[in-house]
């Protein structure tokens, strides 16, 4: 079962089971801070394992907001390249993570 928010990209790969949450990318398993919704989303995705036909899409009923601003931002092609530089340096979220990882590697 694939649980995600980019329906066209998921369908291009033709997975056997899709659960689609129509949210901005980065929130495939629910809205930040809403534990009840997060649990309901994953529960719904797991229910899809019972599917008996392939390439079915289970579209979840949740809506991110009352307007479409986030969709317009997602398709704004004038926003440039938002990706980070590509090199082989591990990108720790926090400096403390790097120190702890390096300590773990030498332990």
């Amino acid at each position: 079962m694939i649980l995600g928010s980019a329906l066209d990209i998921m369908q291009a790969a033709r997975p056997p089971r899709i659960t689609f949450l129509d949210y901005p990318l980065g929130h495939s398993s629910g809205r930040p801070g809403d534990k009840a919704e997060q649990l309901a989303v994953v529960r719904a995705a797991l229910a899809g394992f019972d599917a008996t036909r392939t390439e079915q899409v289970n579209s979840l009923p949740y809506r991110w907001s009352g307007n479409n601003d986030w969709r317009q931002q997602a398709t704004d092609t004038s926003s440039g390249d938002q990706r980070q530089p590509r090199d082989e340096t591990p990108r720790y979220q926090f400096e403390a993570d790097r120190l702890q990882a390096e300590a773990s590697q030498t332990a």
Partner: protein, 160 residues
């Protein structure tokens, strides 16, 4: 109307003068397998592509990093971190990991008996790898080997 990410990203990179982005399009139907046992009796694994790592693990780099991480199913959200080349999609997960790497939700569903059992470790990768060959030849064999060793019956795949 759902967001057409393939069209939008292709247009964006065209405007930037980049070479055409080569999306993966499957040319055959997926292998479909009906569940051999109900989920309440099954062992479930997970793969997330959001670049999750646990404190103490090495973070991902952003130049086609095909490595994977195995994260204990007992890891708490406060010990989950994220590194992904599209960091612009990470603020939600970095503030609340369960919205993109739903380990806490899966643990809850395991405790309720919805899932028979979770694999001991959830798998993670950094999905921003721009070589289909390296995903196919390097990343996927490692993922499959791990799932086979875990003897999982089903997998939840959570792309970002």
């Amino acid at each position: 109307m759902t967001v057409k990410y393939i069209d939008a990203i292709t247009d964006r990179y065209n405007q930037l003068g980049y070479d055409a982005y080569r999306w993966f399009h499957a040319d055959s139907p997926p292998a479909f397998a009906a569940m051999k046992k109900p989920l309440k009796d099954a062992k479930l694994g997970m793969l997330g592509t959001s670049g999750a790592y646990a404190v103490g693990q090495i973070a991902y780099h952003y130049k086609d990093d095909t490595s994977i991480r195995a994260i204990s199913k007992h890891t708490q959200d406060r010990d989950l971190r994220f590194a992904h080349i599209t960091e612009n999609y990470l603020p939600g997960g970095r503030s609340d990991p369960n919205c993109i790497f739903p380990l806490a939700s899966l643990r809850q569903l395991e405790s309720e008996g919805v899932v028979g059992e979770l694999a001991d470790e959830m798998l993670s990768c950094m999905g921003g790898v721009y070589s289909q060959r390296r995903v196919r030849d390097e990343m996927l064999p490692a993922v499959i080997e791990k799932f086979e060793a875990q003897k999982v019956d089903a997998v939840l795949f959570v792309p970002m």
